[in-house]
Symmetry: C2
């Protein structure tokens, strides 16, 4: 462990050491004490609303002066109502079942050894994210609930907001006898802090990037610690020959329009040639909501308002009121297209054909595969996980919506009576 971490500056190393020690102390804290910590965080945020909004105003002022886009300013903004939203979110996390200690597997071996695999905290969870101060509170709460210490690296645009939020949460933990270092930030170390997290083997047990594709790409390629890749979604809906004309327009409209900026919104609709009769109704609903359509020539002949789609459209995660449409001759062609362009997040088939539904479920290699429903259901809240860690698009450890159990590792416990191996 000396090699890769030896380049970390002493002050940063000391910070990470404190997090590691806090993680050790947290393993001795009962679930109810950790819940007390969450309640103290709620109380502290509630009683410092005006200070939080003031700190956030400094970030907003700096952002405006530097020409920050208004959509980013909106993500950065904390109003009294939004602070209350954070308090409520911590309350939801607090009310969830604690995954720590759950027994996943267990057996008694022929020699009498009692073996069980139990959930344990990871230890230190790292999070690197962009200018959304709500992530600071969300991730800290989820980590604490699952018995982990957390090291945060937020976007510099939210520096003042995050600084105060972290201070308030640390003080809250200390007030109930939990180590303040359970929640730490390396924002004060700038880029060097993020570097240390990515290279911090022996300090950071798992690193979760949340934000733009570029941020996630950087963290995945530069990290030597284990990473859970979250994110991007070039999401498809395949309208099969037998799709219900009643449902298809509603489902596609919902998947695109309900919240276009998120990763589970649909980006490409593949239409079976025999279902082209549904296109006018589908297009009409989308166009009425201001969606810009990018389509192949077959569909443009039906929907003249659609722009001409290029290869680039199939490979684009719009995250906006844009949608590409393509005609396919068969389920196989749809599967080929998805294999080529999907980011393996979510795909849905609209069909009345059971065999095609089963083939789609089996052959599409994505975190979530859906039959006859909107892609927007790939979501921790919808699954009943209560809180949003992120949606994993990798196959290791967690895939799809991540709940509290995904923030834990496991440990094998073996109880013997003097057994030795033959």
């Amino acid at each position: 462990m000396t090699g890769p971490t030896s380049t970390i500056a002493p002050a940063l190393r000391e910070r990470l050491d404190r997090s590691k020690n806090a993680a050790g102390a947290l393993t001795k804290a009962s679930s109810s004490v950790r819940d007390d910590g969450l309640a103290a965080i709620q109380e502290s945020l509630r009683s410092h609303v005006s200070q939080i909004v003031e700190a956030n105003a400094l970030d907003l002022e700096r952002g405006a002066a530097e020409g920050m886009e208004s959509s980013l300013q909106d993500r950065l903004r904390l109003t009294p109502e939004r602070v209350q939203g954070l308090v409520d979110a911590v309350g939801v996390v607090r009310s969830l079942p604690d995954p720590v200690g759950d027994v996943i597997r267990g057996m008694t071996l022929p020699n009498g050894l009692q073996v069980s695999q139990v959930r344990v905290p990871f230890g230190v969870v790292g999070a690197i994210y962009e200018a959304r101060p709500n992530v600071t509170v969300d991730i800290a709460a989820l980590a604490l609930k699952s018995g982990n210490a957390v090291v945060l690296r937020g976007g510099s645009a939210a520096l003042e907001s995050n600084k105060l939020l972290v201070t308030l949460m640390r003080d809250a933990l200390a007030s109930v006898g939990l180590p303040a270092d359970s929640i730490a930030t390396v924002d004060d170390f700038g880029r060097e802090g993020a570097e240390a997290m990515m290279k911090g083997r022996g300090y950071i047990d798992v690193l979760i990037p949340r934000g733009s594709a570029a941020l996630i790409e950087t963290v995945v390629t530069e990290s030597t610690v284990p990473v859970i890749e979250t994110g991007s979604g070039i999401v498809h809906i395949f309208v099969d020959a037998s799709a219900s004309g009643g449902d298809a327009p509603d489902i596609i409209h919902n998947a695109k329009v309900q919240r276009p900026s998120v990763c589970n919104s649909v980006e490409t609709v593949l239409v079976h040639r025999d279902a082209l009769g549904l296109v006018p109704a589908i297009a009409e609903r989308l166009l009425a909501s201001g969606v810009t359509l990018h389509a192949d020539e077959t569909i443009r002949a039906i929907v003249p308002d659609a722009l001409s789609a290029t290869e680039q459209d199939w490979a684009t995660e719009y995250l906006s009121l844009d949608l590409s449409l393509k005609t396919v001759d068969s389920l196989d062609e749809a599967l080929d297209h998805i294999r080529r362009y999907s980011t393996h997040h979510t795909e849905s088939i609209l069909t009345a054909d059971m065999a095609n539904a089963e083939r789609f479920l089996n052959e599409v290699d994505s975190a979530a595969v859906i039959v006859n429903a909107s892609t927007r259901f790939t979501d921790g809240g919808e699954f009943g996980f209560g809180a949003e860690v992120g949606i994993s698009t990798q196959k290791l450890h967690a895939r799809g919506p991540m709940g509290l159990p995904e923030l834990t590792s496991t440990k094998w416990i073996i109880r013997g009576q003097g057994q030795i191996r033959d």
Copy 2:
């Protein structure tokens, strides 16, 4: 996905593409067809024993000419009996339950959506390992059983052996209608092949290094694909004040002597000051088996034959008939020592004190934590997993002995009847 993989040479990229396509085809192959493939591999190895031994002889000759250590030559050697051992191992893998399709969680949401989380193959599993040709067959068989394609990169010292083994296995798959590309090697690309696997995002879904600490370190630090770290074990046994004098010498002897070259053998024994009376019996058994003891001065006063231990001994994975011994004043001191020097593989406490046992189980942060038994039990075979993928020492995805389920990912399947999100 274009950035990191764009530096892969076209011929190598084509090889990896073929593996990816084979992985896609494998998702359509039933469990019984994959078992037929395993049976065909057994038959092919069995009917080519002399050719395998001849190919291996070429590797052994080259090794001897290049001055290869005799222990490495032994690992490299394939005799007719060892080939039969490989055939038998494939048979064991074949007899295990197929994890693919197992439902892990499932629920019906309030809106009627039926959600289930099922095990699916990773897709393409990569393995980078050293000069043990048995790993070639073991990993290929485990991958096939769990529905994965595999890309192998073995040590150059086993080039001829691996080349023939891979050819035989590929031909066997083709003979039952499975894609030969389900099993591929990049050995013919040398170092460049290993590089491509480590940087092969979009091609390699998980990469498993097996071999020396240096090999594992390289793979972990250089890879941008997800890695399961296996490996090194600085394994401790703590002899508590109340340890049984009857069991302790046997357990420690077993943990050190039964197979000293493997990762779950004990390297350091911590002795509570109140248990020093057990040291003569412990030392006697070890010395009689030729173990070299490295001890602190307190224990050397009891065992004059022990060498003087230095700081370096506590940090060494001997993998040999060497053992370090240290006196501690308390359970806390033992836990501190373990926290500092353990590689988080396996630790055991010998005690009659229930409270101390529970504290040890709770506070030691290792893949396996044991009470009153040998550390040698951290083993897939002992756990009933039937085959050896490796022992994970990381906390992400798999921790401890890895069975077939650890070679799978999961997928969320959602069945609806037209649901849209509010």
